[in-house]
């Protein structure tokens, strides 16, 4: 591609690949935009031209990922910690599904999620294989950050950038080269406000959002702007966020949702749950009719507790509950 680039002017380059501006900026050549007539071969050395070619090729394949969409991920069983065969031989999770992962600490939940992230090919301690759309995936899923299979959300994550919500989302949209960033920013912000009980403005600094507001913004942002088809959630706190709606947003944005949780409401909201024991997937359970009925009851219980929280916050006494 660098041969083709040589003869282009700066203006032609940016007209065809607007995102080349980011590359020029990162390489300390932002001032080139002031010389639209300049021919690239005259202003960039051959090494930089070659890198520019690589960058454009990467970005093009990155933007084109929607054509080769991930519609399902399959995990082929390997072995347990004691070397015996993993009981679950194959688990396929499709777009729009929620699978919960349960098991005691140290049982191998993290390794399962790491196997998915690293798209294992029998080369991890568990010997598992991970397939994307039924096929053995290529190296790009391991080493190109543009192709990261898994996006992660956990309660330990915080915003660290000193930016307002608007600036923060604009920065993320820009790094993703998202089409129509304004619409996406508005959508993320309004969804996040629906998820979080307490509203916040686009001009609020992200570092001053409450726990619930932060989580709401992270979920809405991951749903809309993250390129990763799989979203891995490590619990969602029960305070200050509508968890059911949060999951619905992710599903609606065609994500595959994996959720490590021991919260009964979240666990029953999953389409299936995988039990992990002794380093292996020991069972896959589909919620029974009775469990589904219990979920309704658990939700009522939850709503009652929530109501008590609100009353406490308003300064009321809880003599009658």
């Amino acid at each position: 591609m660098s041969r083709e680039l040589k003869s282009l002017t700066v203006e032609e380059l940016l007209a065809r690949w607007p995102f080349a501006q980011q590359f020029l900026g990162d390489q300390g050549h932002e001032n080139l935009t002031d010389q639209p007539e300049a021919v690239l071969a005259e202003v960039l050395d051959s090494e930089l031209l070659e890198q520019l070619g690589d960058f454009l090729a990467d970005m093009e394949s990155f933007l084109g990922t929607s054509e080769q969409k991930v519609s399902e991920v399959t995990i082929r069983g390997g072995r347990a910690k004691d070397g015996s065969d993993e009981s679950v031989r194959e688990l396929t999770v499709k777009v729009g599904e929620i699978v919960c992962i349960v098991g005691p600490t140290g049982s191998g939940k993290s390794r399962l999620l790491a196997d998915i992230e690293w798209v294992a090919r029998g080369d991890t301690p568990t010997g598992r294989h991970v397939l994307i759309n039924g096929e053995v995936p290529g190296d790009k899923w391991r080493f190109d950050s543009e192709y990261k299979l898994v996006a992660q959300l956990s309660q330990n994550m915080n915003f660290v950038m000193d930016l307002t919500v608007q600036e923060f989302l604009a920065l993320h949209a820009e790094s993703r080269q998202a089409a129509d960033p304004e619409e996406k920013i508005q959508r993320i912000w309004s969804w996040a406000n629906e998820l979080a009980g307490e509203p916040f403005g686009l001009d609020t600094p992200v570092t001053s959002l409450s726990g619930g507001q932060s989580r709401a913004l992270m979920i809405a942002d991951t749903a809309v702007l993250s390129a990763s088809p799989v979203v891995l959630i490590d619990e969602i706190e029960n305070a200050g966020i509508d968890r059911q709606q949060a999951l619905e947003i992710l599903i609606q944005q065609e994500k595959i949702v994996l959720m490590a949780t021991h919260d009964p409401i979240l666990a029953l909201m999953g389409d299936r749950r995988v039990i992990i024991a002794n380093g292996a997937m020991s069972q896959v359970i589909e919620p029974s009719e009775q469990e589904k009925a219990n979920l309704t009851e658990l939700r009522e219980l939850d709503a009652r507790l929530m109501g008590l929280r609100h009353r406490l916050r308003r300064g009321e006494r809880l003599d009658t509950i």
Binding site: Q22, D26, D54, L153, F168, H172
Partner: protein, 249 residues
Amino acid sequence: MRFVTVSGPPSSGKTAVIIKTLEHLKAAGRKVGVVKFDCLSTDDDELYQKNGIAVRKGLAGALCPDHYFVSNVEECVQWGLAEGLDVLVSESAGLCNRCSPHIREVMAVCVIDNLSGTGTPKKIGPMLKAADLIIITKGDIVSQAEREVFAARVRGVNTKARILHVNGITGQGSFELSTVWTEGEETATVEGKRLRFSMPAALCSYCLGETRIGSDFQMGNVRKMDLEMPTGTKTDGGPQDFTPGGGDS
């Protein structure tokens, strides 16, 4: 023996990543060792030792740490071979962001952390730019969006390297990294190989121990700032000042 040069800003998690990664190689029956380079003091050698990793340390003291590195690296490789190591890692902090210990034909790794700010990839220069493999750490405490923005900035500076996310505390990603460290060429010597980037131009009176301040005491390679230049214009000492190593590429 596989030789790997690891660099990265201070506190980015180099030592933690190296320890977690070498643990997997040890478990697979390989002999591993580290040479730790630092300036004035380090306790990391004890940390390595405690984890059963053969270690030597080098303190640059009054010398430029990167010059010290390159003057000692061949001896380090020979030490590793004499110890019968399968994998030798050199660890050094790119303290002034101007240098990198990376050597042609030797796997070059840069460790950089999500908390260091989105401007950092652009700032740290050759140790990131000339790396084959970039390890991004501390991903467990920032948001998905920040991880994605940061990785995109890293990609903007180094279009070719493989990027891996590793957590130095939990070890997540370190098994994966260990498989990469056993790929590639064996190194029997670095004698005659070249640095990927030249070391900084130095040798002014302060290099030679001068402590007094003032024009009368400044000799040799001295350059003055242009304080007339308003903010926003191209400042002194930008990336255009890099002289790639060797000059024969």
